[in-house]
């Protein structure tokens, strides 16, 4: 009950990023590095010894029942070709079994990297955009709480506020990965697609080249990170000033900065999703995609916020936080897991129902193939059914241990979701869950989690752990949910 909690609340807490915690993070990163290296060697070994085996797959062209699709198109192509050849898709036997995914454009021309290298590059990109988005969503959480004049969240404000620090890693990493490995990750970066004399000329991509070209892409990415980092450093400066001198003017300034940030973020969150994720499948487009990626990023950020809050509470920090705050964080995760499902399903349903080749290719590649179908349903379970059923009752949302379990599942589920977005365009039918996954993908994921937490905790230790001079901090102290 709220009335009894304020007696033991200490607003003057400071988080100490002790060498003990640092050591744990370095162990996490170290184990991740070892697993990744083992994974790379395993993948290379497997590839060298199984080269003769061809990964030809029978892929349907339609999401409608197999009875219709199998009749004409058991060997139809997947990525790219579906759209480029439009109505010819049903007579696609001419392209034969080689027409699948990543290898379709490999014949002739430039040097193609081995699958294990592409897999490593793809994993780097997947984790990079996943964590970049989570960091940005931390700023988003702080910003909309300012603009909404929210009081309850004042006590936990500094945790999402620390997320932005990871953008200092994400910004250069995104640019370096794109500049060095652009051709492996993004089909549209190849010059020959835009040369009408080249047999691989792609009229559809040529039509999109005003938007999808290297210069504009890099420029946009710089603008996204620039705007996010500028807003973040500004908000952090105000928070620091507020800690030093109790003056509501810093809060007012933060509200204004946050409002501007939200306007920019409304556009840049969707556009960064188009650029970094949707353009990996350059023929595919979906108006829901920006929101779908937004939902994935946001619910993961909420899970990270909640997880850090609960773990800090377990370690004796955050005396201001009680089960009422956890209840609200739990409701956030519950609601946005449903929101993710809503957007994800909305996108799927319309594409399934219309069954138009250039749209349906995206889901054919993910839903109708041996490589990705298990994970397709796994993400749905981890990201919807699990949090939905577990967090449905009031009691579970107020219990730290339940929240911890759900947060880990949700983070993992959305990491798989990003795997599903980024893998088929790069690896074609060579992706999916296999034994090496436990080393390469898991190891790289551990490295990124370690670096992300390192950056976040570094920032968390710099300011007060609780916004003690926030004008509504007392509302947070007395927060009470029925």
């Amino acid at each position: 009950m709220a009335h009894h909690h304020n007696t033991s609340v200490n607003l003057d807490e400071k988080f100490v990023f002790s060498s003990e915690i640092k050591k744990k993070l370095f162990i996490l990163i170290g184990v991740g590095v070892i697993l990744t290296i083992i994974g790379v060697f395993l993948a290379k070994y497997q590839e060298d010894h199984a080269h003769a085996e061809h990964h030809a797959q029978a892929v349907a062209t339609s999401l409608v029942a197999d009875a219709h699709a199998d009749a004409h198109a058991t060997e139809a192509p997947v990525h790219g070709e579906v759209d480029a050849h439009g109505s010819e898709a049903h007579g696609a036997e001419a392209h034969g079994t080689e027409a699948h995914g990543a290898e379709a454009h490999a014949e002739g021309g430039h040097h193609e990297k081995p699958v294990w290298a592409k897999r490593l590059i793809k994993d780097l990109w997947q984790n990079n955009i996943f964590f970049a988005g989570i960091a940005a969503m931390g700023i988003f959480f702080v910003a909309f709480n300012y603009v909404a004049w929210a009081g309850w969240s004042a006590g936990i404000q500094r945790i999402p506020s620390a997320f932005g620090n990871y953008l200092w890693v994400a910004a250069p990493l995104t640019l370096v990965l794109f500049i060095v490995f652009g051709h492996d990750l993004f089909h549209w970066t190849h010059d020959y697609l835009y040369n009408p004399k080249d047999p691989r000329y792609d009229e559809l991509l040529d039509g999109k080249s005003a938007f999808l070209n290297n210069g504009f892409f890099i420029g946009r990415t710089v603008v996204y990170f620039g705007l996010w980092l500028f807003s973040w450093t500004t908000l952090r400066k105000y928070q620091k000033n507020e800690d030093i001198a109790a003056d509501a003017k810093w809060w007012h300034k933060s509200v204004v900065t946050s409002a501007f940030f939200l306007i920019f973020f409304g556009v840049t969150s969707s556009m960064s999703a188009w650029d970094w994720a949707m353009s990996m499948d350059p023929h595919f487009f979906s108006t829901m995609f920006g929101w779908y990626v937004f939902a994935s990023w946001f619910v993961t950020a909420l899970a990270f916020i909640t997880l850090i809050v609960v773990v800090l509470k377990d370690n004796g920090y955050l005396s201001i936080i009680n089960e009422n705050h956890l209840h609200d964080l739990g409701k956030f995760i519950f609601a946005f897991s449903i929101f993710w499902t809503y957007v994800w399903f909305e996108q799927f349903l319309l594409i399934y129902y219309a069954n138009i080749p250039e749209e349906v290719g995206y889901f054919v590649q993910r839903l109708k193939t041996d490589a990705y179908t298990p994970m397709f349903f796994l993400t749905l379970f981890l990201n919807f059914f699990f949090p939905f059923l577990v967090l449905m009752t009031r009691g579970s949302k107020r219990l730290g241990i339940m929240l911890k379990i759900v947060c880990v599942v949700v983070i993992l589920g959305h990491w798989f979701d990003f795997y599903m977005i980024t893998t088929p365009p790069v690896l074609g039918q060579n992706g999916g869950l296999d034994g090496i996954f436990l080393f390469l993908e898991l190891g790289l994921g551990m490295i990124f989690v370690g670096v992300f937490l390192f950056m976040v905790l570094t920032a968390l230790a710099k300011l007060n752990l609780i916004a003690k001079n926030h004008p509504m901090i007392q509302e947070s102290v007395h927060h009470d949910v029925f």
């Binding site: 009950m1 709220a2 009335h3 219709h68 349903l349 399934y352 129902y353 009031r394 009470d480 029925f482």
Partner: protein, 176 residues
Amino acid sequence: MEKGKNFVIGVYDEETVLMSAVEEIRSKGVKIHEVYTPYPVHGLDNALGYSYSNLPIAAFLFGICGTITALTMMIWMLGFDWPMDIGGKPHIPLPAFIPITFELTVLFCALGMTGTFFVASNLNPWSTPNMFDPRTTDDKFVIAFDLASTKQDSAQLKSILSETGASEVTTKSLEN
């Protein structure tokens, strides 16, 4: 509440006084019949020692009914009673059923929960709610003791109410 029962009523002017009064009275082991407030008072449920409502369970069950109704209806209609070929889709295209399933789940859940709430809190159209003091719908707070279920007599209860800050103390019997 039956006719002719006698109650001791204390009227309070302030929420904070009411809250500490409730806590003090309960700490003395005196059984409070009910507290009437013009608006929801945060923490009052806990102070009165109420257990959490079972309404969410009713909501869940109504929701499940909606899900089952929607799926049964559509599967029977489009799969068995009158199968149609729509864009070459199977006769029971589950993805296409999801929006209606969702809508009926929410509809059943919302209507069922509202109805259950009204019946459970005696707010259904055919009932006349008991009101000890009409000012509890405006700006006063009332603590009521049921004389039949408290060990203390009327005089003792009245003094407890006055001691804890009640501005008026009276005895009332219910007529309806």
